[in-house]
């Protein structure tokens, strides 16, 4: 498969460096994000994968400037590059800007977000049309008629038939899939460069999920958007992403091109995630489950946060945090197993068989 995005340094739209975020709660400080580094290039789709509580939502909320009030950015940079209406290039550090400023200047206009549950992210007292027009009228100060024309166009674009009729309807009159299409239309209203999708399909069922994912992909190809997906479903990731970052307990433990991570996973956590995906082709009667549950980030994490759940953990995993190892290509892994001094540990046998099968199947498509 030829590469769609070259990942050239000059085409970066957004990059995050050494981001550290903690939350002050009544029970102590939670270190939710611990040194995240990530690049987003023009026209690329990246997926952030992880369990609930791994910090994937917090990372994107910081980009949007909607971090909860008890959250503090301890250190790090989020650099966003954009062109304004006059075509001039700008570079800003979103961490240094006050949250209000991000919301007025960038949210909706440059960076837009699609949330998980379409019923809670839409205003039940406003018609669909009015909600889609709101960001356009706010950011570009255009007239009602112009906005309405554009809204009807958008509704058609996201695959809603009868847009004139839908324009006047309220969210409760639409089905779940339709509502999510409206949310996508709102996100696209101001022609953003970056679209963040926070579990856009978890509240929908499988048949609708496939349609929404295909819709986002079509729009992305048409407009050259960069998309960040947040999800815990690896099937969705395989469908949409060019680049994957696997997060665990506030750190990125493995990242790389989708094919590198899916066909040659190196981190034991990624092994666990891939093995626990139900596979409709196998006849095995038992599903693999990662033992235990994610760590409490209230306590200081000693060494590798995954070590207590990791059957392959080395002694050093309990005392020291592993650095990021370069394992070739774009593939980076934070695991002591990739150290040249570490004993050679192979991935579990079941997973190996499964990946071999996946590769064979993939050859048929190439």
């Amino acid at each position: 498969m030829e590469e769609k995005v070259k990942r050239n340094k000059n085409d970066r739209v957004l990059y995050i460096r050494d981001l550290n975020i903690s939350f002050h709660t009544a029970y102590g400080t939670v270190r939710a994000i611990r040194g995240v580094r990530l690049d987003l290039f023009k026209g690329e789709t990246i997926a952030i994968v992880g369990e609930s509580g791994s910090g994937k939502s917090v990372t994107v909320k910081t980009i949007m400037g909607i971090l909860d009030s008890n959250g503090v950015i301890d250190s790090g940079q989020i650099i966003y590059k954009y062109e304004d209406e006059k075509g001039e290039k700008h570079e800003v550090d979103l961490v240094k800007l006050p949250q209000k400023e991000i919301r007025y200047q960038f949210c909706g206009k440059h960076i837009a977000m699609v949330f998980q549950d379409p019923m809670t992210s839409l205003d039940p007292t406003m018609t669909v049309g009015k909600q889609i027009m709101e960001p356009m009228r706010e950011h570009y100060h255009i007239s009602y008629h112009e906005a309405k024309e554009r809204t009807i166009e958008l509704l058609t674009e996201v695959g809603i038939d009868n847009p004139d009729k839908r324009f006047k309807q309220y969210p409760h009159e639409l089905s779940g899939g339709m509502r999510q299409r409206v949310v996508i239309a709102i996100a696209l209203a101001c022609d953003p460069d970056v679209l963040i999708c926070d579990e856009p399909t978890t509240a929908l069922d499988v048949t609708i999920q496939a349609k929404i994912l295909e819709l986002i992909k079509d729009i992305q190809n048409k407009k050259g958007l960069s998309v960040i997906y947040i999800t815990h479903d690896l099937g969705v990731v395989a469908k949409v992403a060019d680049y994957v970052a696997v997060m665990y307990a506030g750190r990125i433990v493995e990242k790389g091109k989708i094919n590198e991570v899916f066909y040659d996973p190196r981190h034991p956590y990624t092994w666990g995630l891939l093995s626990s995906m139900p596979d409709i082709d196998t006849d095995s009667r038992r599903l693999f489950a990662i033992p235990g549950s994610p760590p409490n980030l209230m306590e200081r994490v000693e060494g590798d946060a995954f070590a207590p759940r990791n059957p392959f953990a080395l002694n050093i995993d309990y005392t020291e945090e592993p650095p990021m190892y370069d394992v070739g290509g774009q593939h980076r892994v934070a695991s002591w197993l990739c150290d040249p001094r570490a004993p050679k540990v192979d991935m579990p046998e079941d997973l190996k068989v499964r990946i071999e099968k996946m590769k064979k199947e993939a050859e048929l498509y190439e």
């Binding site: 499988v206 690896l234 666990g272 549950s293």
Partner: protein, 310 residues
């Protein structure tokens, strides 16, 4: 599974209608029939609004069924319930709900939540007996005795769902209705819960009616599957029959919508779509076509020949 035995649950032509106004009635479940045998798992799948949850709720009598017959272990539990039948139903059929936070009383300790059923039905003779039973069931679902003294909010999502399972199991039920009990959980935790349910079935011989919209998980747990769409069971069969040889286009579209964790394949695959109006399928006109002893499809004669040739 031998099919000759008497079914544990026999549902015949079950209808559940909701009257919205004088002119309009929602036919959530419109004449479905199926059997569940002892010790097996029957998976009911379909999109939201297909009536699968309503079916579960009608069977356990959270609703009054409009029409039809439900026979549970020799007791007729449709229509007006006699005192004995109601007691039998309430103690022998249990339910696990979707959202583990919403279905647990936040003001009660976990051990109190689990013991509630035992107390109401006067199953145990003494406090000690109740406590012993609660401890045993907590251990069964992988929680410690000490965790019983905590409140639901002190648990993670997966642990809360274990509490929900423990509450259902403590009554030692014959049939457990699991209504989307894993949809709200993370993938890795889903696997833990599904494995736990299977282990319990192996040890105690519990029968499950497993309601879900995710076919891939249903495959792991079910012996037989019923596919529901708009209040009708359009296809039913053993897990292998449904996955290897689906006949109904709706089943095919559901199967193709499952995303595979294989990037090269998944990027080029397009999901099949199914639109009842475009295909001109009318469920009311169809009747059951029998492909094998277990595999049945709802279709008219022309539809059946058409689908079979594809």
């Amino acid at each position: 599974m031998s099919e000759r035995r008497e079914p544990l649950l026999h549902v015949e032509n079950l209808k559940q209608h909701f009257r919205i106004s004088r002119k309009y009635t929602t036919k959530a479940v419109d004449g479905i029939s199926f059997d569940i045998y002892e010790g097996e798992t029957y998976g009911l799948v379909g999109e939201s609004g297909s009536g699968k949850s309503t079916t579960g709720r009608s069977i356990i009598r959270l609703y009054e069924p409009t029409d039809g017959k439900i026979i549970f272990d020799g007791h007729d539990i449709s229509g007006k319930l006699s005192r004995e039948d109601e007691k039998y139903l309430r103690t022998n059929m249990q339910m696990i709900f979707q959202d583990p936070m919403a279905c647990l009383n936040p003001r009660k300790k976990v051990s109190q939540i689990i013991a509630e059923g035992l107390e109401i039905h006067h199953i145990c003779n003494s406090r000690e007996e109740i406590n012993a039973k609660v401890d045993e069931v907590l251990d069964r679902v992988g929680l410690s005795k000490e965790q019983g003294t905590r409140f639901p909010h002190q648990f993670s999502g997966g642990q809360r769902q274990r509490v929900g399972i423990a509450r259902a199991l403590v009554m030692n039920p014959k049939l457990v209705i699991a209504d989307e009990c894993i949809s709200a959980l993370d993938v890795s935790i889903q696997a833990q819960v599904v494995n736990l349910m299977k282990d319990i079935q192996d040890d105690m011989g519990t029968t499950y009616l497993f309601i879900a919209h995710d076919l891939s998980m249903v495959k792991y747990i079910s012996n037989r599957i019923g596919v529901m769409h708009l209040g009708h069971i359009v296809e039913t069969g053993t897990t292998d029959e449904i996955f290897e040889n689906p006949i109904h286009p709706y089943t095919k579209s559901l199967l193709s919508a499952i995303p595979h964790p294989n990037p090269i394949v998944e990027k080029q695959r397009k999901a099949l779509t199914y639109n009842k109006e475009e295909e001109g399928v009318i469920y009311e006109a169809g009747h059951e076509h029998i492909l094998s002893e277990t595999h049945r499809v709802l279709a008219t004669d022309e539809e059946f020949t058409k689908w079979n040739n594809n």
